[in-house]
Symmetry: C2
Subunit: 147 residues, 2 copies
């Protein structure tokens, strides 16, 4: 679950570089927010990150954590697990199918594929738990947005 020291160092370097390139300030708060996400593979939520950062930066505020995470996402240093989930969206198609998602407008289009349905996933997964289903998410820019 923990990321190697080596890897964390590389990620921190990438962060410092990004700041220099973008003319942003690598403040104490920003460094510690990024470090908390960079050092783990457990994909913490905002509240968790906030709680952990506060141990080292007791005065940090929750909205700074939010602002920093948005910034880091925008700069490509991290991404959110479900990027298009501002509001709940529903699907009455209960057959197995997959999704093409336009990363610009958020539109989602279904597609079916027998080939993708019986995709074989790495053997190691079996020791992690019972696999119930496999969903493929294809991301890109839709024809409408491409213009």
């Amino acid at each position: 679950m923990a990321v190697s020291d080596q890897e964390v160092r590389e990620r921190m370097d990438a962060f410092m570089q990004m700041c220099r390139r973008s003319g942003l300030r690598a403040t104490h708060q920003r460094r510690e927010v990024f470090r908390e996400v960079a050092r783990t593979e457990e994909h913490p939520d905002v509240e968790t990150i906030y709680r952990r950062v506060r141990k080292r930066v007791p005065t940090v505020s929750l909205d700074t954590v939010y602002r920093t995470l948005s910034l880091l996402e925008e700069k490509g240093l991290l991404c959110r697990l479900e990027p298009f989930s501002g509001r709940a969206r529903f699907d009455a198609n209960t057959d197995s199918h997959h999704h093409f998602i336009c990363t610009r407008c958020g539109r989602v289009r279904d597609f079916a594929s027998e080939q993708l349905d019986d995709l074989s996933v790495p053997r190691e997964l079996r020791s992690w738990g019972d696999v119930r289903s496999v969903h493929v998410q294809v991301r890109g820019i839709c024809a409408k947005c491409r213009g």
Copy 2:
């Protein structure tokens, strides 16, 4: 984008059957909420469903739409596009990777797979837009939850 009349009819039948089996009432409101999701492939959000249902059931309230959608999801008649997105979660791994998600506890575990990275998606997708990346989401019950 529109679902065939035949398919819509079948979905409505499944809904009526579910109500009977579960001892739930197939009220006007519930029927129209389900119909709105069942008749389209565009995956509408709650507000959109509400707006459309109101055309036929002007007195329906937003919270009834919410309650009905939860109920329908629970009964397996529909599902939400991003089921695990109560709060935002972050990932500092910018290399291509995939996710195993436990549908019980929500824990997410990364895995890499060259084979999955160059998955070939159906040809038809190319006409929908530029494909940028492919993410595989494996859902199941993790070893810890299985007990």
